[in-house]
């Protein structure tokens, strides 16, 4: 079994081709996506049936999953939820429907990002790279916020010595906010810093993930004390950090 710690994975990314699992039932789309990924130095693996996706994921342990929502067998939403239950691996949804409900449902079931079909190869690669990019800046390695202790290099968050499981994306959001306590981040800035979007994108990405993050780190998610909403502007880290 490979070590799944994000730090370790970052090292993998530098040392060898990152493995990308493409879950899509259309052979042409899968093959073409494979060509594009290979051209950019990634190693694609494929799965064309919803019922097999979880097995392939467990066997291949990919670094990023590209997941089509409409699949024969188990739906993309269910697969997303099941993978999330056992791993924080970045999941990017490929959606043919730009239907709002589907996008929100996908994000809520644990997807980190989404790319609407049809997409340009460059856009897909940018989204994949953003999810592989690690927060490697030389900032303090341990940040405290409220009663949370964040070990940035070790990718661990704990409260009173008890570790809280966060996905790499949720961890990125928390660290971005916590490094500048009190500073207000607009949704657009967060999209750029965390998701790597260069231009205006779907701000629902931010809303959904803030909700998920709060559900994990706040004592009372209804009255957040760590990730605060600044009405009409965005979010900021609250609590007294030392």
């Amino acid at each position: 079994m490979r070590d799944k710690s994000p730090k370790h994975r970052a090292w993998h990314h530098v040392a060898m081709a990152a493995k990308i699992l493409v879950v899509d039932d259309d052979p042409a789309v899968a093959e073409m996506t494979g060509i594009v990924l290979r051209a950019d130095g990634f190693e694609p693996v494929f799965c064309d049936h919803g019922d097999r996706a979880l097995d392939v994921f467990r066997a291949e342990q990919p670094d990023v999953i590209l997941l089509d929502l409409m699949l024969p067998g188990k739906s993309g939403i269910d697969i997303c939820r099941e993978i999330r239950a056992e791993s924080g691996v970045p999941i990017i949804m490929l959606t043919a429907k730009s239907d709002t409900v589907d996008v929100v449902l996908g994000l809520e079931s644990g997807a980190d990002d989404y790319v609407p079909k049809p997409f340009k190869p460059r856009e897909l690669i940018a989204r994949v790279r953003a999810r592989l990019r690690r927060n490697d800046s030389a900032a303090p390695s341990v940040v405290r916020i409220g009663d949370l202790e964040i070990d940035v290099t070790g990718h661990r968050v704990s409260r009173d010595g008890e570790v809280i499981q966060l996905t790499p994306l949720e961890f990125d959001v928390l660290v971005t906010l916590a490094r500048h306590p009190g500073k207000v981040f607009t949704r657009e800035v967060l999209l750029e810093d965390v998701w790597g979007y260069r231009h205006a994108a779907d701000t629902r990405l931010v809303n959904v993930h803030i909700q998920r993050l709060r559900a994990k780190i706040e004592r009372d998610p209804e009255n957040p004390e760590i990730v605060l909403t600044v009405r009409g502007v965005g979010y900021k880290a609250g609590g007294h950090s030392q």
Partner: protein
């Protein structure tokens, strides 16, 4: 100042308006009021007539009696005087007193007596004329005294008792006192009894009228309520139906007109329910179809898109004809994608499946972002974009991506038709409305074209190519998007003078205000008055 005056006016008007609202909203109130007004008027008229008749009858009879009595007594007195032999002043005075006493006895308590020396009396003997009460003299008017002539008949007049407002009748007659000359004899009859009787009758009448009006009101109220109650019930059920409770029905009781109303109403509701269910089924089918088409089309398109881009990126290695083909493939694919996206969007709106995500935004910020984004394309066409924003905030609840799309569509449409002249964009708001005006000075539109400009796939000039890559659906979608916000999108144009498009969105739930924040027709000089010129970031970069 004007505003304050207006506020005070509004404050004064508010209760009136409330009253008017109640008046127009309640049939019961109107019927009761009408009944009350008509009933009171009828009773008042009737009462006035009856009282007058009774009073006249009472008084006439009394006067008849009074006149007969006084004529008899005057006659008796004159005869007694004529029969007497008194000649000396002392005897005459005694005679007068005797007569006075006799008259007082005859007349009883209701009658007072006044003797007066006639003004034309020039006899040497001066007697003291007796009176029951000295102040009664003032009750006798000079006009009455003038009409009484020696040897003439009796005259009478209404008056009031001095010292009180009791009505009274004065009857006067001449008396000849032998050598003492002519005197006048007045009887003053009090009408207090008649007045009392009349007052009693009036009280009884008023009481009767009050009871009658009350009874009529109660009857009207009961009858109206009987008629209004089923109507109100129908209104309530209709409101529930309108709210989407399609299974709501009226209760059918008995076999009268109200039961017919209820039955007909229920038939209508059932028919409506059937229609709506069918529409919903159709809409659901349509939505599914759009969704399926979307998915089925996008899947192959995804492959084509990636393949085309891979070819396009590698075109440097191809021979010129193949390289150019790869380029054309990629650019036309962009156009195809835009067209597909617009088509799907418009079918989604048609199917009523569009979902809006409302949030407070400043429309000036959205306009600015879109204009910045279009600046390079405009510069490429030699078109200058100028943004004018009225001072203050222009926030409203809106779906930002849709509003952004409306503005993008309007501005790119303006750039396409600007003929290298500038395009002015103005943003302003009133209390209830935010507005964006996009004005170009290019080819313009004829009135007949203005009507068709929002039609799908319509082109003002079919020979012209689409330079901005428009799909022909942009303005239609923009109009639909404005409608989804309960707003409006209007067009104006004049051949050779350009065209203007005005988007207006409501700021609250009360809809658009009456006064538009921006005029639809303006000239290029007019924009300075509309707002402050906002510098664009892209201008500074020198694009």
């Amino acid at each position: 100042m004007i505003r304050r005056a207006g506020a005070i006016g509004a404050m004064l008007l508010a209760p009136m308006r409330k009253l008017y609202r109640r008046w127009t909203h309640s049939m019961l109130l109107r019927v009761i009021t009408s009944t009350l007004v008509v009933g009171l008027a009828a009773v008042a008229l009737l009462g006035a007539y009856v009282t007058t008749e009774i009073r006249d009858g009472l008084v006439d009879k009394r006067i008849e009696r009074v006149l007969a009595e006084s004529a008899r007594d005057v006659d008796g007195t004159q005869q007694a005087i004529d029969a007497s032999t008194a000649e000396t002043p002392g005897d005459l005075q005694d005679l007068v007193y005797d007569q006075f006493e006799a008259q007082s006895r005859l007349g009883g308590e209701g009658r007072s007596i006044v003797w007066l020396r006639s003004p034309s009396n020039d006899a040497d003997i001066v007697l003291t004329p007796p009176v029951t009460e000295q102040r009664l003299v003032t009750a006798i008017s000079p006009a009455l005294r003038e009409s009484i002539e020696p040897g003439g008949g009796q005259f009478w007049q209404f008056t009031t008792m001095p010292g009180s407002d009791e009505p009274a009748v004065v009857v006067g007659a001449p008396i000849h006192l032998r050598s003492a000359g002519p005197y006048e004899l007045y009887f003053v009859y009090s009408l207090a009894d008649e007045q009392e009787t009349l007052a009693l009758i009036q009280r009884v009448l008023a009481l009767g009228a009050g009871v009658l009006v009350g009874l009529v009101l109660f009857m009207t109220w009961t009858v109206t309520l009987q008629a209004v109650r089923p109507v109100r019930a129908a209104a309530r059920v209709a409101a529930r139906l309108a709210d989407g409770h399609l299974t709501e029905r009226m209760k059918v009781k008995g076999h009268d007109e109200m039961a017919t109303l209820a039955t007909t109403f229920n038939d209508m509701a059932a028919s409506l329910q059937r229609q709506i269910n069918r529409m919903e089924d159709l809409s659901r089918l349509q939505r599914r179809f759009v969704s399926d088409v979307s998915h089925e089309l996008r899947t192959p398109l995804t492959t084509i898109r990636m393949a085309a881009d891979v070819l396009h990126d590698a075109r440097g290695e191809f021979e010129p004809a193949v390289a150019r083909s790869a380029e054309l493939l990629a650019t036309q694919l962009d156009r195809f994608e835009a067209l597909l996206a617009d088509l799907l969007e418009i079918s989604r709106i048609d199917a009523g499946a569009a979902q809006l995500d409302f949030d407070e935004h400043d429309i000036a910020d959205i306009a600015r972002d879109q204009i910045e984004g279009l600046y390079p394309a405009a510069a490429e066409q030699g078109v200058e974009l100028r943004l004018w924003v009225q001072a203050g905030r222009h926030t409203a609840s809106m779906d930002a991506p849709r509003v952004g799309r409306i503005i993008r569509n309007l501005v790119s449409n303006a750039i396409e038709h600007a003929q290298e002249k500038p395009v002015d964009i103005a943003v302003a708001s009133t209390q209830r409305t935010v507005a964006v005006l996009v004005r170009d000075y290019g080819v313009g539109l004829a009135p007949s074209q203005v009507q068709r400009v929002f039609d799908r796939f319509w082109r003002a000039d079919p020979a012209r190519a689409r330079t901005m890559g428009g799909t022909g659906l942009g303005l239609s979608i923009a109009r639909e998007d404005a409608m989804l916000h309960d707003g409006s999108l209007e067009a104006w144009g004049k051949p050779g003078d350009g065209a203007a498009f005005r988007l207006m969105l409501p700021r609250g739930s009360r809809g658009l205000g009456v006064r538009p924040p921006l005029p639809l027709e303006t000239t290029a000089d007019g924009f300075e008055a509309l707002g402050e010129r906002v510098p664009l970031a892209t201008e500074a970069v020198g694009l």
